[in-house]
Symmetry: D2
Subunit: 383 residues, 4 copies
């Protein structure tokens, strides 16, 4: 045990996603065996005293503060994990990196492309390690899909169809929050949900050539939180529809919606190529569906069809607790993403996805907003 | 055209299933191309004048009668198609066969094993051709399954799980009909639904070694039909549960139920073997699900899983209208079963499934009723 | 019987779809009971003598001709059923209507909007009855969906997601046919598949406000049919991606693809509204999936979710053979569409969908091609 | 914080299931908010020094021992959590209870009914609190199902169909382990998998009236573990098929199989009643499927069908991390089961399921083995 690296964490933002990251840190040593590091949860910062106290009691952090700069300033912290609302990302990340901390950042990277570029520039100057929480890349099915694509399974890519669908905002009385406030979130469904699916497409198929987008805000005002009443106009998109052209020649549609009545957490991805096809749905996460054109289609000799590959807990090896056959749930992706980050730190190998990946997604989202505004195709990369 | 054989049909019983058979005869020449025969719908018999008239108008029969023996007696009829309630099967079939007619019989073959044996005995003496309407054998998925089993796909068979589930009798006010009258139907859910699934198992896996059964009549009396009112006790099973041991060593459960709330026409079949597994559901008829243990399971190289083979309209070749990719419905099985019968007649090749197959299923059902009565395993064949 | 109207059919074009229509005419009298008409298949025309002969032998037409004008000229024909390649529709329909024939036309109505308008103009002058084969409107699930939408089930429509996916052209060696020849087909996947799905959206949600489209021809040349060899360039779209805005304010994506590897005949439709959602997939045709926001979501009292309404054979009443519980296949839609047409003729009530519906779909497709060409949103109606 | 009860855990057996329990203890304080206790992981015992050391490092236990009696003897432990192979359960539980410890025991309770009765007898004498790890009772879908059944949703129960299917032992070269050794495990698939599904049935439908069973060992010998080679005969069942009659009059089949090729962790349960039906599959854990006969079936007014209730993370309230919409995985059930145990301890309310529930399942399994041996129905309760 003494030989193990100690990785000392400072977490900024103890809301929903901060708790999820904390829970994942707690699980790593028992879920991955052997696990190469000793995680120490040193400090947590949050906007209120009550939240920091909760971080200590629930999360097991050694101390709490309402000033995130205190975490950045400490010598006994190696990693700053940024779980704040989007508008704070840039400052937290840049100051942490300048202080020599490795950084782990929940998506999206920043409020816009200019900020994202600034963050990446600092990351590249400081030489620290940086990773994005594009946690769905770590879904066993998506890891398997990536292997297949790299092996040429798809052939020439013709088309894709992707969507990330929630119904969380169908109640018009759901109050305004930072995710609905353009000044704090930077964007709407496109930022919150679209960033994940745009990253997955890039993970599997490479760079975007150009995008065309329509965005829509159906519920144009919502109540202010709290008891006083009053309404506030909503300035971010409830829904974004994109047509994309990839650098590899494939075309497709990408949708992000917070008003997709009847869905829970439904990220769908389908890709059709000349040699094969892939399907995935995050609400049916134990299988990756693949179709292989190379299989014999002749009725006598064979028969083609979509195969439900049992990804379950199987990717990547080595298998983690709870074992290869058990169904997986949403937290798995966060856990696996953080596992990869921590082991990258210990082994000194490049993190992935990193802030450049975060910036690329930011660029596609920015292109989408420009397209929706100007009603024209927008080519990538942006100047 | 002149070179084509003419096959002249006499249909006994113009109820639901008689109409379905008639419809299939009408479709054969356009659905199968080339189709080797010219079908002539010569005569129809039914219990009432009104029904025979309907057979002429709707079905296109040249004449009608309320006396089925009239059909049997005519020289211009080649085939007697028996669609009567079960209690009439034996007489219709035996007299038809003795008159030299080929016979096509809706399942089950007879009221009990003794009758079935008598029918088979006459069939074998007369040398005519005889076929059972075990039409689900002609599902594209089941035809593909049979090919796979013959190719050794399953390896050693461990277990099976089969059920034929309807909800047609959940309303306790549904009146008595011949299917609920032991004197006319001979049995209940086991006869009506179980005969199909027991035949499919035999089609795929061969003979039964022994059976254990429980039968249950949950709704013990039902209204008499018509306006007078009154109730009659129900003497046939609403549900039969069987445990079976196959001659090949596999074991499994088989269920037939008319009270399976929530189901429509749900025949399910799953088989687990040492090398592969099969799944099928008649309400999802376009695919046969197969699992191949021989495929590489290693996460890097491959990945196992159930594959949804696109059977659709593809089995058997040659493809029939409407073409290989279109979804299939329930009538397809009847059409294909009759196609096979008619082409067997034209080509003079053995029919399949024939009355021996019908008798074998009758024997399993009889064994099940003995088992349920005597609460013991019953070995096959019966003496 | 004598009281029944006789409807005398002349069919133009005895290819795949002509056979399907013929088969449906044969089935109507037995599948619908009572059926109000007596169908007489008077004449068939086809390009070749061999095909007309097949129409007589298989289809039961009384006579055949290679000149469709001969059918139009006869007094003993009431209905011209147009099953030719698209480039012939206009002439066949206009001449038939001018001769006082009722007309039934396979989709799309014409080669372009100008032709479609001309056809509609003649239809309105002559006062005959005219119907389009938008047969998926007659899917039990879609009929049920229409009822629900009319009852206000969806509330305010937010978004839709529709696609009609085939994989029929993934083999680059599949030869050119009229469907790939712009001079004969007028369009590609958008015409062939898109017309169906664009009509269904309109059937459920009303008129389009504007469209944005991208079309793509991935396989740019294909072999000529026959033995001589040689290649020909493909000028029609393999795939069309559309973003649509409906007059009701909803937005969505619509896709038509002939290169959707792994699909067979997969028409999908999803609609999200403020009060409910609908899902349908033509390869799972026995159910319409509905989600009702009005249901109690509280864990104690209820629980929301998609319900798989058993449409099966149940819509519309009266139930047809084979009865309410049996699975349906692709031919059902054609049969039901023609049933509606024939009963409209007999009862003298307006046909639906009619050529105005056909023209409206033509207009959306034309707008899509303009949009793809000019890379801009195109508003409807077109001038 | 100071007001919270401290619950001090001693874990016996740090194999797979011991690790899962440990992981769950770690998660409770962050997943449930508020969480009423402070969990202290005091001691772990395991067969080897290496395992206890792992328990300390990975699991965070304060100390380790290879003698479980040391845990039982300590004053600073409140709960003994028993995760040993089955043959040790009785001694661990009885000694722990006699020492005044509360006990939490992985299923099955004991090696046979006699042992189970002895354990229950001690539990009742000592007055401590005791709970079984029938963790699937805590699946959100099963909790919702229980509420529905209690509300009379099913009406009269007609039939059930249940199975717990794994494929873990299809490789005949998988070595012998304690689970295949009758002296250490007490039973085979019936014990390991059947105990779960038999408990779930009882949880939803009450007591068993009688059972009939067939058990089978297909792979009759397996390699010894380690390098020396050699084979050992397998004396426990690979598969058990049961026909059950419930005290409420319903009948059904129950299967447990370790050789169900193609399955991973597939617990299935279907119940058909006069008023409703339920379906559940553990590999599709986010939904409970319900069918309500009371809904209007008339095509105009409504439409029945199975509804996929979104159970996801929603049952029971209060919602736990990660929030109501996210997909759940296998570990959730263990976590929720232990949450219920710990809160019962804190609140001093009865635990459930308790050892009486464990004994009842043991009794059904014993009846099944008697039935399989003597080939007769066995009534419950056993003498």
């Amino acid at each position: 045990m003494s030989a193990k690296s100690e990785i000392r964490i400072g977490l900024v933002g103890y809301g929903f996603i901060g708790k999820v990251h904390t829970l994942a840190y707690q699980l790593l040593p028992i879920m991955y065996d052997p696990f190469p590091a000793k995680i120490r949860l040193v400090g947590v910062s949050a906007a209120s005293q009550a939240s920091t106290q909760k971080g200590i009691e629930q999360g097991g952090y050694e101390f709490g503060t309402t000033d995130w700069r205190e975490l950045v300033a400490r010598d006994d912290i190696d990693v700053i994990d940024c779980c704040t609302p989007n508008y704070l990302h840039k400052d937290v990340l840049i100051e942490a990196m300048r202080a020599g901390k490795h950084v782990y950042c929940d998506k999206p990277l920043a409020m816009n492309l200019a900020e994202a570029r600034e963050v990446v520039s600092v990351a590249q100057q400081t030489g620290i390690q940086h990773q994005m929480t594009f946690d769905y890349r770590f879904s066993p099915a998506m890891m398997r899909a990536r292997q297949l694509v790299e092996d040429g399974f798809l052939g020439r890519v013709y088309s894709l169809r992707a969507a990330y669908l929630h119904a969380g905002y169908i109640d018009p009385d759901r109050p305004i929050s930072w995710r609905l406030d353009v000044a704090k979130g930077g964007g709407g469904a496109l930022f919150d949900l679209g960033s994940h699916v745009l990253d997955l497409i890039r993970f599997l198929l490479g760079e975007y050539d150009s995008v065309y987008a329509l965005t829509e805000t159906f519920i144009k005002e919502r109540p202010l939180p709290g008891r006083e009443g009053g309404k506030k106009s909503v300035e971010v998109d409830d829904l974004a529809l994109m047509t994309v052209r990839m650098a590899n020649g494939g075309v497709g549609t990408v949708e992000a919606s917070r008003l997709a009545t009847g869905t829970n957490d439904e990220l769908r991805l389908e890709i059709h190529g000349s040699k094969g096809a892939l399907r995935f749905n995050l609400m049916d996460p134990n299988w990756l569906y693949v179709y292989d054109v190379r299989e014999p289609g002749d009725p006598i000799g064979g028969g083609r069809g979509f195969k439900a590959i049992e990804t379950v807990q199987r990717y990547p090896p080595p298998a983690a607790l709870p074992g290869p056959k058990f169904s997986i749930g949403w937290m798995r992706y966060h856990i696996a993403c953080q596992y990869d980050f921590i082991t990258s730190l210990v082994e000194g190998r490049p993190t992935s996805p990193d802030f450049v990946d975060g910036m690329k997604v930011q660029e596609v989202m920015e292109a989408a907003y420009i397209s929706a505004q100007e009603k024209r195709w927008v080519s990538l990369p942006l100047d």
